[in-house]
């Protein structure tokens, strides 16, 4: 009986909960009391126009940008970001992917993936190497381990950065427009890695403009504009052709834009 209760409790308890995050930058309110939560294995997609505050929100969640107010829980435990040790431990469990990759320029692919294992997780060099190798193979880059960031294509760089995040065994991942800096023909290889992660049960909060991908994979779409969550719902609710929503409006404008470009 008790066990069963515990079961249902853990099932309902979100793995990440973010409440009332606000952030002002340069005198301008960028985020206005944003709240959201993710259950284990969910993929939620953050959409919204450029400048809406998507990057700011993702960076506030792991305190790369300390929010002015708001609270964050991981697995039911509130993060006390003033306690450095707790903050660093929390960040190890939250993988972050950036629009412009941010691979460490002075390290080859293998060391990019293994350095945090060695220096943060204190893993010994051979173990870290094996783990990094496995992650790079998982993203299809087992033959590129010796190359430096400047020697990799954009798509390869982003896949290394995903391997780097995965090596830390994160409980959730925050992805900030992982394909926006890529040439169109390279987007697919990165999306397919994210697709595999979603199928593997990784919990992810993904900012993206990839609408088709969102339609097919997202559990929920969160539409952010001017630092406020305007709409939130399943892709079917928000993005179906006859939905009368800001999200759908925004997405069809995006579609038009891409058609024009093509």
């Amino acid at each position: 009986m008790l066990a069963k209760e515990a079961m249902t409790m853990t099932q309902e308890k979100p793995i990440l909960r973010v409440e009332n995050i606000s952030k002002t930058l340069g005198g301008k309110e960028i985020l206005n009391s944003v709240s959201l939560s993710l259950n284990k294995g969910e993929l939620k997609v953050l959409i919204g126009p450029s400048g809406a505050g998507k990057s700011t929100l993702l960076q506030c969640i792991n305190f790369l940008l300390p929010p002015d107010s708001g609270r964050v829980w991981l697995d039911g435990v509130e993060i006390q970001n003033r306690r450095k040790r707790d903050l660093y431990a929390f960040r190890q469990q939250v993988g972050m992917i950036f629009q412009d990759f941010n691979l460490f320029d002075h390290l080859n692919a293998l060391d990019n993936v293994s350095i945090a294992l060695r220096k943060v997780k204190k893993m010994r060099r051979p173990e870290a190497r094996d783990r990094a190798m496995a992650e790079l193979e998982r993203v299809g880059l087992g033959d590129k381990i010796d190359l430096y960031p400047a020697e990799l294509s954009g798509g390869q760089k982003q896949r290394v950065s995903i391997a780097r995040a995965l090596a830390m065994d994160p409980k959730i991942m925050l992805l900030d427009e992982p394909t926006s800096a890529l040439d169109p023909e390279l987007i697919g290889e990165v999306l397919s890695v994210i697709h595999d992660l979603a199928h593997g049960g990784m919990t992810m909060l993904l900012a993206t403009h990839q609408i088709a991908f969102t339609r097919s994979l997202a559990n929920e779409v969160i539409f952010l504009e001017n630092g406020i969550i305007l709409e939130q719902g399943t892709p079917a609710e928000l993005l179906s052709p006859n939905a009368c929503t800001r999200s759908r409006d925004f997405c069809s404008r995006l579609d038009d834009l891409y058609k024009e470009k093509a």
Binding site: F98, Y148, R164, M168
Partner: protein, 221 residues
Amino acid sequence: METTFFTTQLIPALNRGLVMSIKLIIPSGMFGLVLGIVIGTLRTFGPSAIRKAANGYAAVFRGTPLLVQLFILYFGLPNLGIYLDAYAASVTGFILCSSAYHSEYIRGGLLSIKKGQLLAAESMGFSTFKTMFHIIVPQAIRKALPGCSNEIIYLIKYSSLAYIITCIELTGEGKIIATRTFRYTEVFLFLGFYYLVLVTMASFMLQKIEQKYKIPGFGKA
């Protein structure tokens, strides 16, 4: 008679001076660089009070003649009860002065590193110190290396100031022989040649270091 001057007087004296010069240059170069890296990092990323102090440090040691600094260390400090011998005063002066210059090159390197490198490291749980130590500073040093090499080459030459506070190194030995024998031309030509060899060897080694730490994809392939 001509050659005996060189073989029995000049060359042994200059060799003796060379040994002393190397004893001055190596620790000054190494610790100067290390201190410069620390000062440069504090000047760029330190908390405001420390940053100001480090900037002040650089301003003082770049803004006053090295010779004055050496005089203060050797002749001034005894007034405060601190006695440094000529060698210790020289090495201390060289370390302090060259670190101020190194800090400027390091600062330039640090400023050229994109914020994303910092964010990426911190997002994986690197502490601020570890981010600096493992990610940011190693990249900055690579970018600063040509400038720092330049400073080390300078150091080799300004190490000659040590003889003025009685630490008799290469230039000191040369000057003593020249004054004693009045053979200024030969002595100083030889002396210049010794420095040229020193600097050439140092340049060669520094170039090797630069190549070793070169990042593929930066600069000419």
